[in-house]
Symmetry: C2
Subunit: 124 residues, 2 copies
């Protein structure tokens, strides 16, 4: 293989990103990914940039951003550099939600731990 621009097969992208092949196709279909390049046989060949974008998607998904909002973000990215302030605003709003989410998680987790400790005190 010529080491030109580095290119990934679907299988390699599944490996790298943890998204299933079906999910990758789904993301392309709904426009979360730009149309992925193809080889002569019509098979997808992902660029480094595609894989990087999928890393971003992974962060946003894992922090609970709905797909609809990721689509809005993708749209901003597509529109070019003059949307950077909007992207900051979108990500900051998301970041605040993540913060709240972590706080709530921690609070409820503490309650679960109290319950565990109560049960331990009963059982000992």
């Amino acid at each position: 293989m010529l080491p030109g621009v580095s290119v990934y097969t679907p299988g390699q992208v599944v490996e790298e990103t943890g998204f299933s092949l079906d999910t990758l196709r789904y993301y392309e279909r709904i426009g979360l990914l730009e149309p992925i390049g193809r080889n002569a046989a019509g098979q997808r060949r992902f660029t480094q940039e595609d894989v990087g974008w999928l890393g971003t998607i992974r962060c946003l998904r894992d922090t609970g951003m709905p797909i609809a909002e990721m689509l809005r973000f993708a749209e901003l990215v597509r529109k070019g550099d003059h949307t950077i302030r909007d992207r900051i605003a979108l990500l900051e709003a998301h970041d605040r939600r993540v913060e709240a989410q972590v706080d709530n998680l921690r609070e409820k987790q503490a309650a679960v731990q109290n319950k565990i400790n109560y049960y331990r005190s009963v059982v000992d």
Copy 2:
């Protein structure tokens, strides 16, 4: 109102727990709540204990426990005190998942924040 055992109307439980009336009925239907007591007209009257249990449900739900597992937990509670060790095991396993979830959230949030900072550096 006689201040006997304290009793809650559906509306009051919605208020207290943040679950919708439909969700409360749904939880009763699937057996996550024991059958709720009724007044003469067939309307639900929740006890303090029901509301307390709903608080537990709220913690488990908010920390991402699937309903199927909450059902298993409810089952253990129903079966009585000899299941306390099993309950501890179930909650500890859940607690570990919550811990992992928070860690992942924090990690991905940091990446989002890096992105924000990068965008800020571009825009400034």
